[in-house]
Structures are given as C-alpha cells and as structure tokens.
C-alpha cells in the first residue's frame, strides 16, 4: 500500500476515535504525555536541558558571549533563539536552509520567552553602550513524535533556569554567576481533530489535524503568546476555552521545570 493511502486510513481512524473522545495512544483529549527534563545535559554549554514529551525529544543549549549592545538599547544585552529540525529526528526533515516550520518553532519559542520578560535583558549589560552579553538559545529537535513547539519551549525554559554567566572564560569577573529567571512562560499546543480539540498532539495527530493552536502562559496569569498553525479554524469560544486548558497544563509543567 502506498504511504499516501496508509496516511489517509490513519487520519480517518484518528478522526473516528476523536469523535468518541478517544486517541490512538489511549489518551483522553485533555491528557498530556509524560514530561521528563534532564538539566545540564551538555557541559560545554552555559546552560542546557533535554526535554522529553513522550517520545518527542528536544535539547536546548545556551551560550553566552560578549558582544556590543544595539545603539538604541545601550543598557541591554540581546537574546537570540534558533530551532533546528535536524534530519536525524524524522524522515521528513531534510538538510538545507531552515524550512518554514523550523522558523515557526524558533519564532514561537522566542516570542514566549521574550514577551514574558523571562530574563531581564538589562542584566546582560556589562558596560553601557560598549559591552553586553548575547544570549544564544539553540534548540535541537532530536526525536519528532509531535508537538515540537512545546518541547522546544520546555527545553529552552529549563536550560535558561540552569544557565551561568561564563565570566571567568571571558575575563569579565573573578567568578561565574547564575542567570536570574524573572518569569516562567510555557507553551501548550492543541490540535483540532474534527470537533474535538486535543492537547499535546502526537505526530500522527498533527498529520490529521484541522488546525493547531499554541498558547503560552506565564506564572502570573498572563497569556504572553499565541500562534495558530496548520490548515483549519478555531472559534473565539474555542480559543477562550483553550486558554483555560493552557493555564492548567502550563502551571503543572512549570512545577516540573522548577524541580528540574
């Protein structure tokens, strides 16, 4: 049987199950897969964490390097987020320039970290107008079993909470110092399967989905970022309900990150 036909049969099956509130892997619509975080996975990074959501794995490494502040923000450092969907993680990823879906993962993960003011960028300033830290947040997707944005977001936040300024390496101070985290934004993604909206879609569910909605919340009760992706639509009422669900899952995940 061709791949196209098997994919179509699987999609029909997923949608049939969803109509009864069931899912391919036995979860209920609002069940999130189990999350596991290993912090400090890469010692060559200034902070790192591996995040697992079920079989999905994302590794984030943080590197801090001295640079020059932008002229319009002389008292602040800079933050750069990049996500690589590397070919080893899925048969559908190819080497080459970043695919729009990799750009989307990068930008949505970045948006939550930035909008929530996760780190105080003025704390990255060393000498106003002359020297400041550039904080590189690099996310590698290692195993793609669906829901890459949430995996990237978990890995990035966990890595940032375990980051140290490499002061000694760059002769900036006598001792290394921890990077202080102000807020804890986390993304929670949903997929529409017919009229059922499931949290934390698997790879197969994403293929069958009629739209994905990602909502980032912080620990203070703010929504800090949203992104609708894939072909499909959500009513304003759907969005309002999903915001409540995103807070419930986000709050639980924040505890996991804090304990990591």
């Amino acid at each position: 049987m061709s791949e196209e036909v098997t994919a179509e049969i699987l999609t029909t099956h997923i949608l049939d199950l969803a109509r009864e509130g069931r899912r391919l892997d036995g979860r209920k619509p609002d069940d999130y897969r189990s999350i596991r975080i290993e912090s400090g996975f890469v010692v060559s990074a200034d902070g790192s964490a591996m995040a697992h959501i079920g079989d999905t794995t994302a590794l984030c490494g943080i590197k801090l390097e001295p640079g020059k502040p932008y002229p319009d923000t002389p008292n602040a450092g800079t933050l750069t987020t990049n996500a690589e969907l590397i070919p080893l993680s899925s048969p559908t990823f190819e080497p080459g320039p970043p695919h729009p879906r990799a750009i989307e993962v990068s930008r949505v993960v970045d948006r939550a970290i930035r909008a929530a003011e996760t780190i105080d960028l003025t704390k990255l300033c060393v000498t106003p107008g002359e020297k400041s830290w550039v904080c590189y947040v690099d996310v590698h997707i290692l195993d793609h079993a669906g829901n890459l944005i949430d995996a990237g977001s978990l890995a990035a936040l966990a890595a940032l909470t375990h980051t140290t300024f490499p002061n000694k390496r760059f002769g900036i101070a006598q001792a290394d110092a921890p990077l202080v985290i102000q807020h804890y934004p986390l993304e929670v993604s949903f997929a529409r399967l017919g009229e059922t909206i499931v949290v934390d879609p698997s790879f197969e569910e994403e293929q069958a989905a009629h739209g994905r909605l990602t909502i980032a919340t912080d620990e203070l009760g703010n929504v800090v970022a949203m992104q609708k992706g894939l072909v499909g639509a959500f009513s304003p009422e759907d969005v309002k309900e999903l915001v409540d669900r995103a807070f419930r899952h986000g709050d639980r995940h924040r505890e996991i990150v804090r304990r990591s």
Partner: protein, 253 residues
C-alpha cells in the same frame, strides 16, 4: 512591544479615552481597497489602511514550482509576504527574513483553510503580498488585499478573509493598532475571520493579556473584521458593477 531602554514612551491614551491619532478604542483606521489594480496577475488588489500601503497579486491555479511540492488530490497554496526596503523608517534589508517567512506560512495556511483546494489537484495557487509602506498591521492589510485578489482571480473560496489586530495600549484593549501603539503597547493580537462560520483561521499574539482581556480582544477583533468584510465586498462590487469605470484600474497615485 516595549523595547528595553528605548526612547521615552509616548502617551498612547489620552484622559478622554482617545488614542494618539484621536480614534476611539473600537475605531478602525480609514481603509480603501481597489480590486484589480494590476494587469499581469490573474487577480490583484491594492489596500491603503491608515498609513499602510499593500499590494497583493494572485497567480493560478497553475503548474507547481518546484515540482516535488505538487499534491495529487489538491492545489497547494503558496504565499510570499515581502516588505520593501523603503517601507519602514530604518531601511529593511531586502529579501526573506525569518519574520516574513513565518508570516508567509501562517497566511498560506489561513487561505488554504478557505479555498476549495480539492477542485484544482496538482496545481499551485500563488499569493504575493508586497508591503510598500508599513505602519503596523501589515500582515492583516496583506490578508485583506490577498483575499480580494483571490476573489478577483475567481478562485472559489468559502468566504473572504477580513483581518485585523487588537492590542493593549495604556492598559486598554484597542482595535487596529498603529505604529506607536504597536511599538510601545503591551500586547498585539492579529486575527483573520471566516465571517460565514465565525471561526478564526489566523491567530497570533505577543505581549501580556489576562484571560479576561484576551476574551474581550477576541470579541472586539471579530466585530472589527465584520466591518472590514463590508469594505471588502464593496470593493469587489464596485470593480464588477456594470458602470465601473475601466476594466483594470491603475494604481491610485
């Protein structure tokens, strides 16, 4: 969004509840839409929205390039949102940056949600959006222009796609942010509505909003989209009414 250490923040909301340009919180900027503004494209539209100037063109359904993207059971929708180097105060480096690639992706997905793609298997419907002058809300202006261009090209769709951004300025929820409000406001939430179903096919958001603020923003945005929907339909009516002036209007000066 509040840039760190940037110049002083202008007063975005006056004591009378009026905004920086005198608008009320639920008031749109003036919008002018011309359908069929280009000659070579299968469909086109030009939109002036506040100080935004956006041109959209549609080509297709036509052969798919590159070929491997072709789908056997439906048309693919490809979108290129591009901003001209001179469209903003500080020259934008030409070419595709990550921002425009992300916007192109979500806009293509929004249109694929309303176009009857299964009617045109093995083809591509190409949507080009060119931002000539930018003043916040260019992706929404682009969607409105592209949507009218798709209708002008005769592409069958569920409905037109009105779009608008809602934001938070000076603590208040406001419709259709202009540049100062976007730069110094506390949140930005662009959306595109399918009026016929009442569902949203584009949703993005950045900033800080409580649940309650977000809920009000969605309602305000939907109401704004419905007003824009009327302007879009008028543009198409005047383009195709029997006493419309020229078959293809020139780009307005």
């Amino acid at each position: 969004m509040g840039s760190v250490g940037a110049a002083e923040v202008p007063v975005l909301l006056g004591p009378d509840g009026r905004r920086i340009d005198g608008r009320a919180l639920d008031e749109l900027r003036p919008i002018k839409i011309t359908a069929g503004s280009l000659h070579q494209a299968d469909g086109s539209a030009y939109v002036e929205w506040g100080m935004n100037k956006v041109m959209a063109a549609v080509y297709g359904p036509r052969e798919v390039h590159p070929r491997h993207l072709q789908e056997n059971n439906k048309a693919i929708v490809q979108c290129k949102y591009n901003m001209a180097a001179f469209a903003v105060d500080e020259r934008k480096r030409p070419g595709l940056d990550r921002r425009s690639q992300e916007i192109s992706k979500v806009i293509a997905e929004a249109f694929e949600s309303v176009i009857f793609v299964e009617e045109f298997p093995r083809t591509s419907i190409d949507v080009y959006i060119e931002v000539l002058q930018a003043n916040a809300g260019t992706r929404c202006a682009g969607i409105v222009a592209a949507s009218v261009a798709l209708a002008d090209a005769g592409i069958p769709m569920v409905d037109l796609l009105p779009a608008v951004a809602v934001g938070k300025v000076g603590g208040a929820i406001a419709l259709d942010l202009r540049k100062e409000e976007d730069n110094f406001g506390e949140a930005d939430l662009p959306m595109a509505l399918v009026p016929q179903s009442g569902r949203l096919v584009l949703i993005q958001m950045e900033g800080h909003m409580t649940r309650e603020e977000l809920s009000r923003s969605l309602d305000l945005g939907v109401a704004g989209c419905r007003k824009i929907y009327g302007i879009m339909k008028d543009a198409l009516r005047s383009r195709y009414s029997p006493d419309a002036p020229a078959p293809r209007a020139e780009v307005p000066a």
